[in-house]
Each structure stands twice: as C-alpha cells, then as structure tokens.
Amino acid sequence: MIRETLYTMKSLHRDDFKIEGFRFGSGEKTMAIVGSMRGDEIQQLYICSQMVAQLKELESQGDLDPNKSILIIPSCNPYSMNVSKRFWAMDNTDINRMFPGYDQGETTQRIAAAIFKQLEGYQYGAQMASSYIPGSYVPHVRMLKTGYENIEAAKMFGFPYISVSTPAPFDTALLNYNWQVWGTSAFSIYAGQTNNIDKKNALLTQQCFIRFLKRIGVIRKPVKNVGYDSLLLDEDNLVRISAKKAGLFTAQYGAGDYVDEGATIAIITDPNDGSVLEEVKATTSGYIFFAYNKPLVFQHSLIFTII
C-alpha cells in the first residue's frame, strides 16, 4: 500500500487542504473507490477507511493481485468535514456538481479537476453517494441512464438492489455521469446513512466490495460470503408516498422492512396538541426502499418509496 497526497491547496489561515489516496498494486488501473465528497458523508468515509484496512491486511498476506491497481480516496473534502458543513464552506458549492472540473476555474472546479485526473482511466469506479433528501436507503448500487451504464458489472457486487434513474440536467456535472461518459463503469453506492455510522450496513457494503474485487480478479484467495441476486429497479417505477400533512413525524417502519398494503407505516401528529393529523398508509405491498428519518416533516415531502 502506498499512501499518497493527491492534491494540496494552501488556505489563508487554515492548515493546508489535502486529499489523501491509498494505492494497492500497480499496473492496470482496475478500480477506484471514492468516499466522502461532502462534509456530512460520514458513513461513506467510514466504509472507505475500513476498506483501506481490509485491503492492507489482504495485501500483507499476498492475497491481492499486484498487477491490478486500486485507488481509494476516503475523503475528497476534509475541510468541510472539519467544520461540519455539507458543501465547500467558503461559497457553499458542491464538489460533486463540478465534474469533470476545470483546473483554471473556481476553487471547487479545480478540486474536481484534480480528483478527476486521478480517477480517469480506471476500469471500474465506485463513489459512496448521498442524497439531498434526508433519510435512509436500503443499500444499493445506483446508476444514471447515460447509455454507458454497465448493469452486468453492477451485479457483481451482490447488493440487494440495483437502481437506474434518468439524469436531470444538473446531474451532468456529477462525478459518476462524467466517469461513465469517459469510459469507466461507474457506480454510486448508497450504504444506508449519511451523517452517522451505521455498522450493519457498512459491513454489508464492505462485503459487497470484497465480492466485487474477488470477481474482477483483484483478490486471489477464496471469499466466503454470499451475495444477493440483485433486483434491478427503475427509480421512475418506485411507488412514492408523500406527507399529506406537516407536523411531527414518527415512522413505524424503516428502509428494508416489508409492509402490506394498507398498513400504517408512519404517523404525523400535531406539534402542539399531539392529535393525529395523518396515519400514513402503505399504498402497495412491498419492501421499503427509502424512508425519511427526520422528526419534522413538511407537507408534500417524500417520506417513503416502496419497491
């Protein structure tokens, strides 16, 4: 393993901004894994750090193919993490809306350009993603429908689900959109949470990475874990449930639970007198794919999607 500082930038009064990378093996650029790009992507950082530890262990035992190169970047944005801001603190811009970047442009465009230069040319790329809608997800691999999405490769993770979605105009500046367009089979990995560490889903995600690395020949020893025969979902076809009322939100079910049609899955109560404003019902039977997880809910907020 080689630990390398991939990018540095001076700041006015802070210690230097640094992006650290961990390289395993050399030769063929096989797989890159990117952790947090936003300051609240803690689960994403945690999983990458655990992957570094696991690969270091496998490497020391001679179980990694030295001719296949792997790059892991646990955090692209330590500055925002250290001040608890989701985006670049100076101007609230999102590094993951700046790809492929521009090395003569604005600060976050330069950071994106530096990251993209490191990530270009890998056969496979995985980014630990998060959504702007607060909530938890069933662990899954997500891909944008660019025409280059590699669903067969995504199946090698053995995640429970693979989802595909139609890109919105502003999605064209995401890392994964650009990765795909520039020839990498790119995956966004949703590992349940964003702000917190969720060990159960972190472990499941790490096992998926290990399985994937085994299947592409990076790990040489037998891997003893079973994966899922992933179900392919089109996000446009998920059943969406929105809050009819605003108020205090308490969920009865969470991401990954199976619910019967008509079951009460959450209750919205009046914030002052505690009366029940809405019993949220499952409008179909199935597994909950996404569940909102904040205590205050707005009218029309998306609170569940069901497969």
Binding site: F87, T107, R110, P169, A246, N272
Partner: protein, 319 residues
Amino acid sequence: MIKTIISSELPIGEQFLVRKNVLSNGNGGKRICVVTGTHGDELEGQMVCYEVSRIIQENIELLDGTVEIYPALNPLGIDSLQRGFPNFDLDMNRIFPGNPKGTMVEQAAYRITEDLKGADMVIDIHSSNLYLRECPQVRINVMHEDWLVPYAKMLNVDFIWVHDAATVLEATLAYSLNSTGTPCLVVELGVGQRINDRMCANLTNGVFNLLRNMGVWKGVEDALPSKPIVCKGDKVDFLNAANSGVFLTEQKTGTVVEKGQKIGAIVDPLSGTVLSEVISPCLGYLFTIRAYPIVYEGSLMARIYKFDEKEKSTGGRDL
C-alpha cells in the same frame, strides 16, 4: 390585488406562502411579470419590486394591461438569510420546471412556472451573491439571442452577456420559460445581502421603459436608456486567484480598464506580504469585481469584457 399562488404546510403552525401582486388597468391584454428572490441572499430585486409597484399604483391611469409582481419566490430563504431553499440545502434555480408530485420545493417550482407561463415578458431579477459585485446586466442563453436581446436593450442596463448554452442551466426558471415560449430576461446587478439604490433606480427606469415599449405603460420617458455593451462569444477574461489570501481592491464595476492595469492584490496578513498582484490581461470593460475579500486558489476576482480593435475607440458600445 394580492394573490397567494402557493400555500403549503410547514411542520409547526406556519404556511409556506408565495404571493404576487396583480396590478391591472385599461383594456390592454398584455401581462408582464417581475419576479425575484429565488436566491434568498439577493436583495436588489426587493427595492425594484417595491418601486415598480409603488409607481404603478400612484399612476394607475398610465397602466394599460397587467403587471404582476412576485417579490419572493424563496420567502423562507430571504427571511432566514439563506441563498438556497431552507431545509433542502438546494439551489432553487436548479430544479425548474419542478414537479407537481415532487417535494415541497419541486411542487413550488412547478406552480411558479405554471403561473408565469404565457406572460408576454418575465423579468427575473438576481443580485449576484455575497462574493461578487456585478454591474447591471442581462444574461441571455445564446439559443435565445435574436429573440431576447432587443428586449434586454430596453432595460437600461450597462451590459448584455450572451453566454453559451450549458446543460446545468437547463433547470433554471429562465430556461424553463424561454424553452416553452414565454420570454424571460435574467437581470444581475449589485452584490448579495445589500441594496444599491442607484442601480435599483436605473433598473426601475428600465422596467418602465420596457413596459412603455411593449405598450403597457403610457408614462413619458425620464431619460434615454443606456446603450449597453452586447457581449457575444468568447470575449470574457476570467481572473481567478493565484493564491489563497485576502484580496484587496478599490476597483469599481462598470469601468474601462487598461491592459496591464493593477486591479488589486492578494495579501497575507500573517507574514505581512503581497502574495500576488492582480493585473488586467487586456483592455476592456470590467463588469464583475470580487466583493468578499477572502479568497482561495481559483476564487473569481474579476470578469473583463475584452475590447477588439474597433471597440477601443467606441468603448464597446454601438454608438
């Protein structure tokens, strides 16, 4: 007449409201909309909306048609000093035309778009942000240049920037309206969180000039509108910071700068040294200058419209 176009529940005893004031008189069938406040930190539009509304109501007999004023598309943002849409950490100008079945903010964007559709003109007033000071300007997507530049010239601004099409900008309010046949002009002026009275007064005059030219206002002309520089193609130099530091400048926007002229300097207060001097790379018209002094490598400090040979004598204006 004040109308509520969106009312949606917030968690604790409050409605999220988007309102407009509809001012009508005479038999004219045209409808002109003045909208602002998509970004909660941009306040110049507040004064322009107030002035347009006040002048029309004091002289209602001069109105022939309808003017609708939407002073706050993102009222929660304006009232809580946030650029984005609070609770969603989302730039509201990246989600148009919205979605009638989406989240609160997507539904709001949808209803705003539907409400504006079919207007004879929409003027969308922005004020840069905290970081940059802009001379009064209209920004137009190159796809809509021929259609919109003649209207932009009526707005009494100093600069019209016809910019390249960019996919990310397809989710703006202006793009959503323009691409479905409703003309929308995006005005940028001033700096975030402040109001520049003179710039707002000039734009107010421009709004009335446009109303007059479109047959909606019968009042007489105060003064001839300014002749703006029309910038097309690759004629803008971007000055990005070479170092992180404190950017010091006395430069004003809307001024002609010489090639080699010093625009400012980036300094380090800890060591007491100049890290780099900021020099104009060309003769041209400086239309953007950084207002927020702290910079990182890459932070934008200025934008200059480069004069070509002919423009060196005319100052870029079509005299």
